[in-house]
Structures are given as structure tokens and as C-alpha cells.
């Protein structure tokens, strides 16, 4: 028998605390697969945020730091500056990054910090129970926008991959999604590319991943994937927003 797929050994046997159908599980798994395939387990340092992935240090057999809410890019700056040859991966959700930690991520991009950011955008606060995030879509109902997000009160969604991609310090910025097998494969290749740029000593590599939060959105997991394709990607189009030029 030839093994087509098995659980990567970079993952521990710990039971993941994510809800059923949560995109974090898929994305964690992809990161673990790449670390294993590229033989990076001894080099990798994961920096986890506050949010649903706060316990992810327990899922990985690599060195991990759990940062304060929103501060992972600052913690990552310290770690990467101290350990230039390691693979430093800053993992953040949309509440963590775009609300609490907007200054930290912007300035990591402005300085061109040489680490990889994996940004999981599910347009809602998951861990605290489905509140509105800066990334929440217009009219989207959450527990703190029960009538739907209104521009008058809460402004407009934030497109991070485009914003970070516009910074000179950013080497690579792409938005992908985990709503179908093909898109999951593309997500994996985007993260792999980001890791490669980092190991080549390039500036910030940023991968935004549109990801389902079935519990927060109040729909079944499969319906959540449908909603990404039908609605969420209209606000957050897939694509590369910063790509290294030939020879860079």
C-alpha cells in the first residue's frame, strides 16, 4: 500500500479544541504538512495569537510562543531579530490582527520584518462568541451587530492582504481561501511560498486565508463553505497583491 495522506507527525495527538468544520483545523494541518515536507521542524517557531487558535501550541511538535492579544507581530519581531536563521511564523485571526493589533501588523510590514504572517480571516470574533470584527461584512449579523453591520456605526470591512501588499516592506502578499479542495491546495502552496521567501531572507511574507466559522456564522460547516464562495469572496477577492519581481 502506498500512503496518499496521513496525519503529519509535526502535529501532536492532542484533541483540537476548534469547533466542527472550523478553518483553523485545516490551516493548522497545512502548516504542519509544509513543516514536515520541507524538513523545518527543528527550525520552526510558531507564534500563536489570542483567539480560537490560542491553544495551538499544544497541537504542534515545534517550539511555540503564545503572544498577547494583537501583539504577535511585535513578539515575532523580537524572536526573528534574535534568531535570524529560524523560520518564524506569526499566526493571527482577524480580531487579533485587524482590531487589537492593527499597529503591530502595520509596522511589522512597514519595517519589512523577515517573518511569515498567516492571517486567518473569518470575518468575526470566534473565541469570544461571535462578535463583530473590523473584517465583518456589511449587513452581516453578529452578537454585537444584531441588526447587521452598518457603515454609519461601524464603518467598512478591511482588506488586509491589499493593505499589507501596498507596503514597501512587504515582499509577498496573497489572499487564499479554504472553502474547497482546490483552494485548500492553493492555500498550502501560498504558505509554502511565504516560508521560502522568509528562508531566503526577504521582507514580510503575508498570507491571508478566508476561513469558515460555522459556529460564529450560525450555519452548518458545509453551508459556511458555500457562504464563503457566494458572499465573502466578493468582499475579499482571492489573488496575489504583492509578488516579488523577477530576480528578487
Amino acid at each position: 500500500m502506498k500512503t496518499v495522506y496521513e496525519r503529519p507527525k509535526v502535529l501532536t495527538d492532542e484533541y483540537m479544541k476548534y469547533c466542527g468544520g472550523c478553518g483553523h483545523g485545516i490551516i493548522n494541518k497545512l502548516i504542519a504538512e509544509i513543516i514536515e515536507e520541507e524538513n523545518l521542524a527543528e527550525k520552526a517557531i510558531m507564534i500563536w495569537p489570542i483567539g480560537c487558535s490560542v491553544y495551538a501550541d499544544r497541537y504542534f511538535n515545534v517550539d511555540s510562543v503564545c503572544a498577547l492579544h494583537g501583539r504577535a507581530p511585535a513578539t515575532g519581531t523580537g524572536i526573528k531579530r534574535a534568531l535570524e536563521d529560524n523560520l518564524v511564523v506569526v499566526y493571527q485571526g482577524d480580531g487579533d490582527m485587524v482590531s487589537e493589533g492593527m499597529a503591530e501588523i502595520m509596522h511589522a510590514g512597514i519595517r519589512g520584518e523577515k517573518f511569515t504572517v498567516v492571517f486567518v480571516n473569518n470575518a468575526i470574533y470566534g473565541m469570544t462568541g461571535g462578535q463583530m470584527a473590523p473584517t465583518t461584512l456589511m449587513e452581516q449579523k453578529t452578537s454585537t451587530s444584531p441588526q447587521g453591520r452598518s457603515a454609519d456605526n461601524a464603518g467598512f470591512p478591511v482588506n488586509m492582504a491589499e493593505i499589507i501588499g501596498s507596503l514597501h516592506g512587504c515582499h509577498y502578499s496573497e489572499r487564499v481561501a479554504v472553502n474547497s479542495p482546490a483552494n485548500i491546495r492553493k492555500t498550502k502552496e501560498a504558505i509554502r511560498k511565504a516560508f521560502k521567501y522568509q528562508l531566503d531572507g526577504k521582507g514580510l511574507s503575508f498570507v491571508e486565508i478566508v476561513s469558515p466559522c460555522p459556529t460564529g456564522w450560525g450555519v452548518s460547516p458545509v453551508k459556511a463553505l458555500d457562504w464563503i464562495g457566494e458572499t465573502v469572496l466578493n468582499q475579499y477577492p482571492l489573488g496575489v497583491f504583492k509578488a516579488p519581481k523577477e530576480g528578487e
Binding site: 500500500m1 502506498k2 500512503t3 496518499v4 495522506y5 496521513e6 496525519r7 503529519p8 502535529l11 484533541y15 483540537m16 476548534y18 469547533c19 466542527g20 468544520g21 472550523c22 478553518g23 483553523h24 483545523g25 485545516i26 494541518k29 504542519a32 474547497s180 479542495p181 485548500i184 491546495r185 460555522p214 452548518s220 460547516p221 458545509v222 463553505l225
Partner: protein
């Protein structure tokens, strides 16, 4: 025959594998609960399985192992 092994105890019943399997005959929900209270996915009729690995690709729990008979 190809083999699909599912760790039923960590399955959370998201149905992604069932939804995306190109052969609709293989994956279905078990009719009893696992310890965490989910009806986990199970694989049967493996003679239809083409070992494409899609079920494993979409599984958020990394609960599925796929082997190809060569």
C-alpha cells in the same frame, strides 16, 4: 483495494469529506455517537475509492488516512 482509515474519536461531523468525495458511495455518517458526542464519518464501499485524498485534504482534524493499493 484502497484504504480510508478515519479516526472516529476526533471527527467532529463537519461532513466536508462526505461533501467533497467525488464518489458519493463511500463516506457517510455513522449512526452512533463518538465519545465527544458527534456522529463521525465512516468509509465503506471502498471498491469505489480512487484514493484521490480529497477527504483527507478537507478534513480539519487530520483524522483521515488514505492508502492506495499498488
Amino acid at each position: 483495494m484502497n484504504r480510508v482509515t478515519i479516526n472516529e474519536e476526533i471527527c467532529k461531523e463537519c461532513e466536508y469529506c462526505i461533501t467533497f468525495c467525488p464518489k458519493k458511495t463511500i463516506l457517510k455518517k455513522k449512526d452512533t455517537l463518538n465519545k465527544k458526542g458527534y456522529y463521525p464519518a465512516i468509509a465503506e464501499n471502498l471498491e469505489d475509492c480512487i484514493a484521490c485524498g480529497i477527504c483527507a485534504t478537507v478534513c480539519p482534524e487530520a483524522a483521515i488516512k488514505v492508502e492506495k493499493d499498488v
